[in-house]
């Protein structure tokens, strides 16, 4: 991926920050808006220092009006700006979904291509720790079901930077779903203003032969843990990080399936009409004869997230559950 380039170690948070800073540096039409993004440096400090660097014209604290702010972003994009709308978390973006689905996703079509909407919606998705039912939702399905929006879910600092930069440069609406529990993780990030990770390219985060764990976002780390555990027992698991959920790298999916013939889909969200459901349906359609076992899905339990710590852990997907599912598809 990064062959020979100079690298810098940084957190996922800082990688996102750098992506925004660089893109705002190269293009005046890019601006950031959201609750607490300016004076407070972002609820999760992702936009630290940006107000100082770019001023209140381009780093804008909004009222708590998710629907209105999303609409404002889309309107600004209609006249050629490139807004980055930060949702404090995607849980709150359900309030804004009308502007995402009915405006951002549809304007290019309704206007017959006169108006494109180069907007980025970003923020953390999914559960953190003990935040309870309303603050612990993985929102991917709400953003992929209707066509017209693209979606990426970076798992590492390098992907965070590269995908966010790709999203900002993309001419269509792109959602970037991050993770509260990812912001502090560290990794090597190419030290290059033009480093991008193109949308639509999956990444084999660990190569293996016996079983494929396909996943996205925060769960990549759980998959890697599971793969490490399996390795101890001599099972070689491949971990494919989709990175981008639309566009979707189906070639990479089919490649890992035809390599291992056994698949587990791991996701943070609920099962019903989840991302995994779609991937399973596609694989069985396009690689039916390559499957030696049914594909299993490891997801959040199909319940609302409890506050209690122990129950929360039981509800969330984890490496043990992934290992178990892998063993099952391996018989």
């Amino acid at each position: 991926m990064t062959g020979g380039r100079p690298m810098a170690e940084m957190t996922y948070r800082d990688a996102l920050n750098q992506a925004m800073v660089e893109e705002m540096g190269r293009d005046d039409s890019v601006f950031l808006i959201g609750e607490e993004v300016a004076e407070y440096d972002g609820a999760y400090k992702v936009s630290r220092g940006m107000l100082d660097q770019f001023g209140a014209r381009r780093v804008v604290d909004s009222p708590i009006s998710e629907l209105g702010v999303a609409g404002l972003g889309v309107g600004a994009a209609m006249v050629g700006l490139r807004p980055i709308v930060e949702f404090m978390t995607f849980n709150f973006s359900i309030l804004a979904l009308d502007q995402v689905i009915n405006s951002a996703a549809k304007l290019y079509q309704m206007s017959h291509g006169q108006i494109n909407v180069p907007i980025v919606f970003r923020g953390p998705t999914g559960a953190a720790l003990q935040l309870g039912a309303q603050h612990s939702q993985a929102c991917e399905t709400y953003y992929v079901h209707a066509p017209g929006v693209k979606l990426a879910t970076p798992a590492t600092p390098a992907d965070a930077k590269g995908l966010l930069k790709a999203a900002i440069r993309d001419d269509d609406p792109v959602a970037i779903m991050e993770g509260e529990l990812l912001y502090n993780i560290k990794g090597e990030v190419p030290d290059d203003d033009d480093f991008i990770v193109p949308l639509g390219v999956a990444d084999v985060k660990r190569a293996g032969d016996d079983v494929s764990i396909i996943t996205h976002g925060k769960m990549v780390h759980v998959a890697l843990q599971a793969a490490a555990q399996l390795a101890k027992d001599g099972v070689s698991a491949e971990v494919l990080d989709l990175r981008s959920l639309r566009p979707l790298d189906v070639d990479a999916i089919l490649a890992t399936v035809s390599k291992t013939n056994r698949v587990v889909y791991l996701e943070e969200g609920w099962p019903y009409a989840g991302i995994g459901a779609q991937i399973v349906a596609m694989i069985q359609e396009e690689a039916f004869d390559h499957l030696d076992a049914p594909i299993l899905r490891v997801t959040q339990a199909d319940v609302n997230m409890p506050y209690n710590k122990r129950l929360e852990q039981l509800v969330k997907p984890n490496a043990a559950k992934v290992v178990q599912a892998c063993r099952k598809v391996l018989y």
Binding site: P63, G68, G71, L72, G75, L81, Y108, G113, Q114, D170
Partner: protein, 358 residues
């Protein structure tokens, strides 16, 4: 209008009314006649199945389009809801492109993809055509944000129905317009009803109070009086253009037809008598005609000539729509994403299967 001069038949023809030249007044009359004839043609075409879907006309509300939009510059923006034919034309969208859109043709202003509810022409600043009640209020504030961000001196006029002020999106948007002092004018086309619901049933306050929570100044204007509406907007637009911030205008009007093509003109929610009284006494075209006749600024013959002219134009428009080609099938997939990414599959129905690394 009580202030008009008593006309002396022997005087040479008057040259002005409230600062509008004779020529400008004729243009205004022509515009309103065009809107009326144009939408009557739509009604005919809808009746015989040339136009489909939901279709909402402005008949009775012509002065609101003319009086609010004609004062604008080309670089200004208009954004509206699903009742927008005459507004689109007023902002400069070609009538034939609007009609062709309703016919679902490739030559339509949205290529036949949008239909009556989704008219667009970015080049002349007509930003749609939106079907979700109230949503355009938030888009408008974004356009205004863009204007200010770039330090331009355009303004946005955002139309809303009276029923849209009960949407949260409207209030969120108006508050942001206020705190950032953005150049947007919210014009409520207050025709008294949202479908079958009279405004007084869904609000305890006057329309003009709806911006009070947000500190946006409100103005009430008789939207059946094209000159009053025009002068008011001329002034408000100037104020907003020069940094005066957002405005809220209650443009009082009345819908002469049903809510949409499938809705009867009168029925459970308003009486035949109410509608007849309004049609008889508050037709904006008749009112304007009377003003012009009284001020000796237009003759019956001139009016008839104008009307004949727009009828010819509307026939041509209809012929254009009728004879235009249907959109290509490729339009189905060509206008979902403006950027087909180099990698990965965008369409999960197999459309781009096998392309790129899909």
């Amino acid at each position: 209008m009580s202030e008009v001069d008593t006309v002396d038949r022997d005087r040479p023809a008057t040259q002005e009314l409230h600062g509008f030249s004779r020529e400008r007044l004729h243009e205004l009359m022509r515009a309103m006649l065009l809107y009326r004839r144009f939408e009557e043609k739509i009604e005919e075409a809808y009746a015989i199945g040339k136009i489909g879907g939901f279709c909402h006309v402005h008949i009775g509300q012509e002065a609101t389009a003319a009086g609010t939009i004609l004062p604008l510059r080309r670089e200004d923006y208009v954004i509206s809801a699903y009742r927008a034919h005459t507004q689109a034309i007023a902002k400069g969208v070609e009538p034939r492109a609007v009609m062709a859109e309703l016919y679902g043709k490739a030559t339509g202003c949205s290529g036949g993809l949008g239909g009556s509810m989704h008219l667009f022409n970015k080049a002349v600043g007509f930003m749609g055509g939106h079907g979700i009640v109230g949503a355009q209020a938030a888009l408008a504030v974004g356009i205004a944000f863009g204007i200010k961000y770039r330090d331009e001196d355009s303004v946005v006029v955002c139309f809303l129905g009276d029923a849209a002020v009960n949407q949260g999106a409207f209030h969120e948007a108006m508050n942001m317009a206020a705190i950032w002092n953005l150049p947007v004018i919210y014009a409520v086309e207050n025709n008294g009803y949202g479908m079958g619901t009279e405004f007084t049933r869904v609000s305890t306050t006057e329309m003009a109070r709806k911006s009070a929570s947000h500190g946006v100044p409100a103005t009430v204007v008789n939207g059946q009086d094209v000159l009053e509406t025009y002068r008011t907007f001329d002034e408000l637009v100037e104020r907003t253009r020069t940094g005066g911030g957002p405005q809220f205008v209650d443009v009082r009007t009345y819908r002469f037809r049903g809510h949409s093509m499938s809705d009867p003109v009168s029925g459970t929610y308003r009486s035949k008598q109410e509608v007849e009284r309004k049609v008889d006494c508050e037709d904006p075209i008749t009112l304007f005609r009377d003003q012009l006749f009284e001020a000796d600024l237009m003759s019956q013959d001139e009016l008839e000539a104008l009307d004949a002219e727009v009828m010819v134009e509307v026939d041509a428009v209809e012929a254009f729509a009728e004879s235009s080609p249907e959109p290509e099938e490729s339009a189905i997939y060509d206008f979902v994403y403006s950027q087909q990414n180099e990698h990965g599959r965008l369409f999960m129905d197999g459309h781009d299967r096998g392309q790129a690394n899909g």
